[in-house]
């Protein structure tokens, strides 16, 4: 089987200790929670830190509670928990559904929400063994300087492949980060960058502590559409999160649409307030939103699937997100 490199596994009990370890070994350490993303990547030689700092035993990272008008979710909470927790299901049903669609039950049982938010970007030329990547010639995301997706490209376009961030972005979520030197908060919409090599603003010795989501208005309706080859296991070929605040007469108060699975950064579809804000939701408006999403999203050959089809699916699944939104009951107060 594929072998792991030698590393030291630290099991801190407290957050301060974990952050201290990350600072002490900055540049040669990585945090690990469920490890469902990191372990296969280490077996492929994509990460070879000498120190792993385990987060599951850190009490502060385990919490799901309502606090000051927000739902607070600790970074080390498992995806199974996020998908099934009664509070999350009641307040943020769209997030629970997005979490429920990740990978398969065994992965969700150990994979965490913090890990999903920080999931490494994916690409057919990157998620391969060392032998494979060496035989091809290393790419610019790891060990090399060329891009095989965009010939001559100098920026990594590996795909953001996580399912919860697009939903969290439409919900206006914030991540709380900490290093040994202090803490900061970043809105999720500002958390991701368009650099596939390291697609977040998180520093290497910085931890995502928790995700905070404002309790939405009862009029907010959400949908997460995940396109994938199989009904389980797979990463998204396309992830579409829609949040629309509408009243009983379908008057749109706000609308937010995020498309992930394209490049390194989930794309917030722009200009929707102009066409939809304050209007009554009609088939024409849905069609216009779908058209804008289609125009703003251009899939690349970073995943193993036909790009024309993936592009066309943007519009199809935006429509389906609206169908789901209109068919679903209002969230409980």
């Amino acid at each position: 089987m594929l072998r792991l490199h030698p590393y030291r596994y630290h099991r801190p009990k407290e957050l301060g200790e974990a952050l201290e370890l990350l600072r002490e070994h900055r540049g040669d350490s990585m945090p690990i929670a469920g490890g469902t993303d990191l372990m296969p990547n280490m077996k492929h030689g994509l990460y070879t830190p000498s120190h792993l700092v385990a987060l599951k035993g850190v009490e502060e990272l385990h919490v799901i509670e309502e606090r000051d008008g927000e739902l607070v979710i600790g970074a080390a909470e498992t995806l199974t928990r996020v998908a099934s927790d009664p509070l999350i299901k009641r307040r943020l049903p769209g997030l629970a559904r997005a979490a429920e669609g990740i990978a398969h039950p065994m992965i969700r049982n150990i994979g965490t929400i913090g890990g999903n938010v920080c999931l490494d970007t994916r690409c057919t030329y990157y998620n391969q063994t060392y032998f494979w990547r060496e035989a091809l010639g290393f790419c610019l995301k790891k060990d090399g300087d060329v891009c095989y997706v965009v010939k001559g490209g100098s920026r990594c376009v590996a795909a953001h492949s996580a399912d919860t961030p697009p939903m969290l972005m439409t919900l206006g979520a914030t991540v709380d980060l900490a290093t040994a030197d202090g803490a900061r908060s970043v809105p999720l919409t500002k958390f991701f960058t368009a650099d596939g090599i390291w697609n977040t603003v998180r520093e290497p010795d910085e931890l995502v502590i928790r995700v905070r989501v404002p309790i939405p208005s009862p009029r907010l309706r959400t949908s997460y559409q995940k396109v994938r080859e199989r009904k389980s296991v797979d990463f998204p070929l396309l992830g579409i999160a829609l949040a629309v605040e509408i009243d009983d007469s379908h008057l749109i108060e706000s609308i937010s649409l995020v498309v992930a699975g394209l490049g390194a950064k989930p794309r917030v579809v722009g200009g929707l307030d102009k066409i939809a804000g304050g209007q009554r939701l009609t088939p024409d408006i849905i069609e216009e939103v779908a058209r804008r999403a289609h125009r703003q999203c251009n899939p690349l050959d970073n995943l193993i699937v036909d790009t024309d089809w993936r592009h066309a699916m943007v519009a199809v699944y935006v429509r389906r997100a609206f169908e789901e939104v209109l068919g679903q009951p209002l969230a409980a107060a």
Binding site: W132, A135, R230, D234, H294, I304, H311
Partner: protein
């Protein structure tokens, strides 16, 4: 006597008298019952020991250095740095084993490690034995190989044209070294058949390559003892052929080589020939005098491959106005990958095996297997005939539509019959195909569905046949294809020594059922000792669906020899005729008076006292007069053919192209189901595998020749959620030569899946998918194309609703 009672029962507390009276009424006591597999409990509780579970004292671990180039000459190999690493015990290269091997004796074109040339990315170049895997991996990194890179060909049509750069040296000067095998056969006058046809359908079909994906990766352990005897444990499905090839390549006396096949965790044809790891562990064990193990990574399993050949198939099929087939004209280009493997047979099979279950007045096929710089293709479940079956069955669907004949009715009209010969002279005996068609027609409510379901939902039908073993062994000889040796203990325990390979298909269980049936001993009194060349008589291996038919017959032969002795001894003790004695339920008893009985162990003891130690051998060989009388006519010939029909019902999402297989009805003529539970398991497993190839699997490559996705995350096979509902219907035609009338069930049921699904998609949305797989992008593109044609007035709408075309891909 209930069979569950067999479990844990003592021989001397066996069936009650009432149960024995019931037994008299039945034709069989064990055969035909729904029984657990004999190895089911240990496998499902994780206690079965597979090859990788074997650890020997002092064992070393080896790794193979693989080529990063698709086609290159090896200029030099320098392993001196590797040998200096602490913990490295030996390095071998191609020069250490310069004897070519190959499963087919006429096409030996592989070396255990490449000698002067690499032919695909992943080809083995050197192997290192070290104290552990990490040390072996480090050693691989320090081996310097100098290559001279050659142009590489991934497309067989390009390779055909580029004879200036042969992947293999031509056999004779002037030949094209990129042609692996060419077969052209014609039966009756095809041109005339086409000219006389009322309808001629022409189509081009492409079957994408697929691989086996067994859960257990290949694994082998070599041990060379000081007396000069080599033992190799390997996850193989052909221990006998491996035995021969190890001795030949390593230049050892065959008598000093022992091959042991532990339980195998899935093979599906992917372990049916020798592989580099077996030679490497053997050679490294010989050099180091230590046991040596290699376990492939999943990536290496994809490189070892031997999966389904990609085939480009051009078919012309003619029929009269009643739908009767007048001519089939097939031209096929077969993408072989880097080596021959079973390719000679594949090339014949691509044409030989589609001449039943339908009668055809004339038939011609021209098949060319071409080398390309990709992992070598070989036999996968339904070897060589799954691809042409897709083409011919879809052709029939198109003919049925052109003639406005129901496709099931069209197949009925072309039924070839029983006890007949195909147009290429293959002998057909029992044939339950008509009943298979009727069963799926009825179970699926076909008549109320075909062309009658709403837009987006459809049904399709297809039929097929498959061999129950090949009539001739891979190396010519007149000895039996299968043999079994039985040994009886005084306790009543019966040991079955059989060369047959248990690869998950249930062959050990099958042998136990036969011994229990014949000798009347409880199942847990039977020990199956299989696939160990030091202990067991030869069986040619678990391939071509041959084991139940051939080893089953051999086992019956051996068991009946012992049964005869036991009945004679008991008859003598009771002073009655031997034919009055029955053996069942742990007893020997008198048929006329079931109160007169003795425990089976006592009966065995009587027989041993009278005749000496109780043991017997049995064997099976194929009849020799059933093949075609032309060159190549032996290939495809089988002692019995199985027959299958499928109806598939699918939902197609016209906006996305996703195909959801709602249900597949499978009727399979297996002759007789020795254990219906296992037959159904084989039918379902086959359908799963066929459906996977239909909608998902793509064994494809990047431009450089690198495998596109050598992992189980990216190489898509269906999860349980993607697997269709299935209904298996067993049809029993009772074959005259099979064991109790049985024929194969492990491969035949796969064949109709793919064309049935293709035809169901057509019925659903009116598009023909003549290229595999029917992945969402491909289905979506075909639906859009049809929509365009409908808008242009070239086609009328399919079923009622017009096709809505989603947003143009180019945006607005």
């Amino acid at each position: 006597m209930k069979l569950e009672d067999f479990r844990g029962r003592q021989a001397d507390s066996a069936a009650s008298e009432e149960e024995l009276r019931e037994a008299l009424e039945r034709e069989f006591q064990v055969i035909g019952r729904r029984l657990r597999r004999t190895d089911g409990m240990s496998k499902s509780t994780g206690r079965t020991l597979y090859a990788d579970d074997i650890t020997l004292p002092g064992m070393l671990h080896a790794k193979i250095l693989r080529s990063p180039h698709a086609h290159a000459l090896i200029k030099s190999i320098d392993a001196s740095a590797a040998l200096e690493l602490r913990g490295v015990h030996a390095v071998v290269t191609g020069a250490d084993m310069p004897v070519p091997y190959g499963i087919i004796p006429w096409t030996r074109d592989e070396y255990p490690l490449c000698v002067d040339k690499v032919r695909y990315i992943g080809d083995g170049v050197a192997a290192v034995a070290a104290i552990d895997e990490d040390t072996a991996n480090r050693a691989l990194d320090s081996i310097e190989v100098e290559y001279e890179v050659l142009p590489h060909f991934l497309d067989p049509e390009e390779a055909l044209e580029r004879s200036d750069t042969p992947i293999h040296e031509p056999h004779k000067p002037g030949q094209n070294g990129n042609i692996s095998k060419k077969v052209h056969l014609e039966f009756e006058d095809v041109e005339k058949g086409l000219a006389d046809s009322d309808v001629v359908i022409e189509g081009e079909y492409y079957f994408e390559g697929t691989t086996h994906t067994p859960i257990e990766p290949h694994c082998a352990i070599g041990y060379f003892d000081p007396s000069g005897k080599l033992t190799v444990w390997s996850a193989t499905q052909v221990p006998h052929y491996l035995h021969r090839e190890l001795a030949r390549v390593l230049e050892l006396d065959v008598a000093k080589v022992r091959v042991i096949q532990p339980p195998v965790g899935g093979a599906f044809g992917g372990k049916s020939e020798p592989f580099d790891l077996e030679f490497c562990v053997a050679k490294l064990a010989m050099i180091t005098a230590r046991p040596v193990k290699i376990l492939y990574t999943r990536e290496e399993v994809f490189y070892a491959h031997r999966g389904r050949h990609p085939m480009l198939m051009h078919y012309k099929t003619g029929a009269d106005r009643h739908g009767r087939i007048k001519a089939v004209d097939a031209t096929t280009i077969i993408d072989g990958g880097a080596y021959s493997s079973f390719g000679l047979v594949t090339t014949y099979y691509s044409g030989q095996l589609i001449t039943a279950p339908y009668q055809m007045e004339s038939y011609r096929f021209d098949s060319t297997r071409v080398y390309t710089n990709k992992p070598c293709c070989g036999p996968k479940r339904g070897h060589g005939s799954v691809q042409p079956r897709f083409a011919i069955e879809v052709q029939l669907d198109k003919i049925a539509e052109a003639l406005d004949i129901d496709p099931i009715e069209l197949r009925r009209r072309n039924f070839i019959g029983t006890n007949t010969r195909t147009i290429n002279e293959l002998r057909i005996t029992s044939n339950g195909f008509l009943q298979c068609l009727e069963e799926v027609e009825r179970a699926s409510a076909w008549k109320s569905k075909h062309r009658k379901l709403d837009y987006g939902r459809g049904v399709g039908v297809a039929g097929s046949c498959y061999i129950s073993g090949t009539n001739y062994p891979i190396y010519p000889n007149d000895m039996p294809q299968s043999a079994v040796q039985l040994q009886v203990d005084r306790s009543g325990r019966v040991a079955v020594f059989a060369g047959a390979s248990e690869i998950g298909q249930g062959s050990d269980s099958m042998l136990a059922y036969i011994v229990a049936e014949e000798l009347g001993v409880p199942l847990d009194y039977i020990r199956i000792l299989s696939a160990d060349t030091d202990l067991t008589p030869v069986d040619l291996g678990a391939y071509s669906s041959r084991v139940t038919f051939m080893c089953g017959n051999a086992c019956i032969d051996a068991a009946r020899k012992i049964k005869k002795l036991v009945c004679e001894a008991v008859a003598e003790a009771w002073n009655c005729k031997a034919k009055s004695i029955m053996l069942a339920g742990g007893w020997a008893f008198k048929a006329e008076d079931t109160a007169q009985k003795m425990p089976i162990s006592e009966a065995f003891n009587l027989a041993e006292a009278k005749f000496g130690a109780l043991g017997a051998t049995g064997s099976y060989n194929t009849p020799k007069d059933i093949h075609g009388t032309y060159r190549g006519g032996t290939i495809g010939s089988s002692p019995a053919f199985s027959f299958t029909a499928h109806v598939a019902e699918v939902d197609v999402d016209p906006e996305t192209g996703f195909v959801e297989i709602h249900k597949i009805w499978i009727a399979h003529d297996c002759g007789r189901a020795l254990n219906p539970l296992l037959v159904e398991g084989q039918m379902e497993g086959s359908v799963y595998m066929g459906a996977a190839e239909a909608i998902m699997e793509e064994h494809i490559f990047k431009e450089t020749g690198l495998h596109n996705a050598p992992s189980l995350l990216d190489y898509k096979i269906p999860t349980s959620l993607d697997t269709p509902e299935m209904q298996s219907i067993i049809v029993e035609s009772i074959d005259p030569e099979g064991p109790y009338g049985a024929k194969e069930a492990g491969e035949g049921p796969l064949h109709p899946s793919i064309p049935a699904i293709a035809c169901a998609i057509y019925d659903a949305v009116g598009v023909r998918l003549d290229r595999l797989p029917f992945s969402p992008p491909r289905v979506w593109a075909a639906i859009r194309e049809r929509g365009r044609q409908e808008e242009a007035g070239e086609l009328s709408p399919w079923k009622s609703p017009p096709i809505s075309v989603p947003l143009p891909a180019t945006g607005d």
